[in-house]
Symmetry: C2
Subunit: 250 residues, 2 copies
């Protein structure tokens, strides 16, 4: 589709609490918006349970498929936090007390409070590099292209700034949204034609219902703003012919 460099990512959400419906995952949205801003395209998300074999297999499958993998969850102090051990096994590297992480947490806690549970949070692949945690001390880590982050959304968010400069981004993805006062079936045929003639722009169509009224959001995404603009012109044209109201366009 393009000769410009494309960089792809996958996310692995680790946690029984997401699969049971107890917790609503919001980390996918946080990470995907951040990745967009870096020109990295999120291709796949997997939500998997706290099961060692599943974590190992998923990490090993996805790290070969995409440029970057981000895991969330399972790096805390309790028995159900098995991400660091599982990732060590996925890479076949030694798991144990990470010198730098131990030193960070030793300083973070008051003397005598760096107990066994807290020490577990410094256990990880011994050759991992750290992702600093400005919120609650315990660092994340990365090994090759796999970045392991915590599950708590506010802590995860605070750690992204420390990774940004470690990643090689691609061409930033541009986007434009055209909100129309119509229903999808009215524009489906014309929109399909625009997509067929503009294959370097990803055109999505999303119905919405706001303030008692139906509408459709057309989302144009591409690394090439000119090609988005061309689509926008073609869409605006058929929309005017059909006498459909354009609610907004930005």
């Amino acid at each position: 589709m393009t000769n410009k460099k494309e960089i792809f990512a996958g996310i692995i959400i680790i946690g029984n609490e997401i699969l049971s419906g107890r917790t609503q995952d919001t980390n996918t949205a946080t990470l995907s918006i951040w990745l967009n801003s870096l020109g990295i395209k999120l291709q796949e998300v997997r939500i998997i349970p706290d099961v060692e074999k599943t974590i190992i297999e998923t990490v090993n499958e996805l790290r070969k498929k995409y440029n970057y993998i981000f895991t969330t969850g399972g790096i805390g102090p309790t028995h159900d936090d098995i991400t660091a051990l599982s990732v060590s096994k996925a890479f076949g590297v030694e798991y144990g007390p990470h010198k730098e992480a131990m030193s960070i947490l030793e300083k973070y806690y008051k003397p005598g409070e760096f107990n066994e549970g807290r020490q577990k949070m410094a256990h990880m692949p011994l050759n991992a590099k750290l992702i600093l945690n400005p919120t609650s001390g315990a660092p994340g880590f990365y090994i090759e292209n796999v970045y392991c982050l915590p599950g708590v959304p506010s802590i995860l968010k605070s750690m992204l700034g420390g990774i940004t400069n470690k990643l090689v981004g691609g061409e930033p993805i541009q986007s434009m949204t055209i909100n129309l006062r119509t229903v999808e079936s009215e524009i489906a045929k014309s929109l399909k034609k625009v997509q067929e003639e503009n294959n370097e722009v990803e055109i999505g169509s999303y119905p919405f219902f706001k303030a008692g009224k139906l509408g459709v959001a057309i989302v144009l995404r591409s690394i090439d703003q000119n090609k988005i603009n061309k689509c926008n012109t073609e869409i605006t044209q058929f929309v005017k012919q059909k006498e459909i109201e354009i609610i907004s366009n930005d």
Copy 2:
């Protein structure tokens, strides 16, 4: 772990809008809570793009792995709605206008309004069975163990009632949550011991921060309420010894 029947499910969320961060997925939480109530255990969720090859491969991989698969998204009238065609290809069955679905939509729309876009919503595997849509007419469908639902959360929710009696459920999963005024590292060691001695109960530990105070939610899940009660007793015991406040227990 148990000799009672266990039934497993997987979810495939189809849509570029989730991967781009434009839309926050909530269907996973809706489906997982509903599956819980039927005694069906959600094992895995995949969020994938609107790409035919990816949909085909994911459907074919997961439908062999789990008792039930639920897909969401991609069954609307526009060019980016390719779930029905992709699922037909996954099963190697003919895709076209489904007689019963055509008849439903013909009655649903006013005369002359059943246009090409709307007719597309009745195109699906010809041998599929329908999932009725009490909200907006266009039915979902299922073929063997793969149930295809829309992406719009309110419409998806309204269609679940129509599937419930088609599924064979397992033993209902019981759960109990113990909220403690503590931090995870204080209880990690004792909790690990309880987990090791009660391997038929899944014990999760989730830190929270509410109304300015830290706490930990311990979640016990099992099909056997007696085993949950036994864990609860053991946890209550060590919590009292440690003089930790129990905020709630239900």
